[in-house]
């Protein structure tokens, strides 16, 4: 019994310690980010690695989600004679929820893992320690540019996802099924608000970008300096980022979209 209590206490203390450590790391990262901007090219190169190379997977996923949403939405909407609302349905679903969340999940899988593995291997190869020896702060030189690049890339990727999805829905709805193009767009424009829907969607992607990038960097930085440690850290990045994105999404949706 005492053993059980001791074990429980140890676990709780461990979790608290990790949380505190992560918070301190986050504050450090925020503090060093402005100084990373003194060398803008470091950030540009990371936007290339994180953002550019994710465009293809984000755009193709967006297209498929838009196609499927349009097909499935049409089946239900046409039962109530509201097939013209298809554009509105797809646009709202994409801009408010699916765009930000799916982009963040893909981002965690595509870019987050590579960040974690890169940092983990840098740590395992003692590159970070070597930098410190040369009086180069790895937070400013390595972590900061990646963090900023992630925050820049995510909203852009999210917007690309939603835009491609809406275009794909147009292809299915108007070109394949034959909904009137004017009604498709005007219903959409009538129901989607620039600030409330698109603005909040962009805010969501920024929040997810901060969370997913931070988790990837933190997990990589704290990974054990062994091959197993790096592989474990990569897995953990995907799991923790995905769960954080889902829970953050619930909180943000509750804050943004419950009141009208």
């Amino acid at each position: 019994m005492v053993d059980f209590l001791a074990g429980l206490g140890q676990r709780v203390l461990g979790i608290l310690q990790t949380l505190g450590h992560a918070t301190a790391f986050f504050v450090d990262l925020l503090a060093s980010a402005p100084r990373s901007l003194r060398r803008p090219y470091l950030t540009t190169a990371q936007v290339n690695a994180i953002g550019n190379r994710s465009v293809v997977i984000i755009a193709s996923s967006g297209a498929v989600v838009g196609l499927v949403l349009a097909l499935q939405g049409y089946i239900t909407l046409s039962r109530y004679g509201a097939a013209e609302s298809l554009g509105l349905l797809v646009a709202l679903a994409l801009v408010r929820e699916l765009g930000p969340v799916l982009t963040a999940l893909l981002y965690a899988g595509r870019a987050g893992t590579s960040l974690t593995a890169e940092i983990g291997l840098m740590k395992a190869g003692e590159q970070l320690a070597a930098m410190e020896m040369m009086a180069v702060d790895p937070r400013i030189r390595v972590l900061g540019p990646r963090f900023i690049a992630g925050i820049i890339s995510m909203p852009l990727l999210g917007a690309i996802f939603s835009a491609v999805g809406v275009m794909a829905a147009y292809v299915v709805g108007v070109l394949m099924i034959g909904i009137d193009a004017g009604a498709f767009w005007s219903q959409m424009q009538d129901g989607v608000d620039v600030v409330k829907d698109i603005g909040n969607g962009v805010v969501k992607t920024i929040v997810f970008g901060v969370a997913a990038t931070f988790i990837a960097l933190y997990v990589g930085y704290e990974s054990e300096a062994t091959p197993e440690g790096v592989s474990l850290a990569t897995t953990r990045t995907v799991v923790v980022s995905s769960l954080s994105v889902f829970s953050l999404d619930f909180i943000l949706t509750a804050l943004m979209f419950t009141k009208h």
Partner: protein, 161 residues
Amino acid sequence: MSKRQIETLVGLFVFLGMLAILFLALKAANLATFSFNTSYPLLARFDNVGGLKINAPVKSAGVTVGRVASISFDNKSFQGVVTMDIERQFQFPTDTSAKILTAGLLGDQYVGLEAGGEDKNLQPGDTIKMAQSAIVLENLIGQFLYNKAAEAPPKEGSGSK
């Protein structure tokens, strides 16, 4: 890849992202129809505003001339007070009447304005005198059933066998 190439690619990516946001704002949302025209308020009192919502369109002859700005309850006359923002370019005579109408059978409700023949126009902040309430489906069905029952008195012993 050279530094220049990477910078170009990143520029392209940022441009693409901006383009996507612009596409969403202009094509999928209402930014293009967003009017910067100043508007003036008009009030109307309804016995029943039904399912009218804030931001519902105000139409005259089927053309949107403004939006519903606010809906409140007047505790003196026990009526719903609807404030509408009408675009400055549209002026209505003082004997204009307002109705709450429904788009389609079960669609959204909007305010319909019917212009009268007076020479003087409504001033900002004026109240529209003639206002017809929303049609509430339950009341309509209730009235219909009541009329039906009055029309055809129940036959003797038809219900018990």
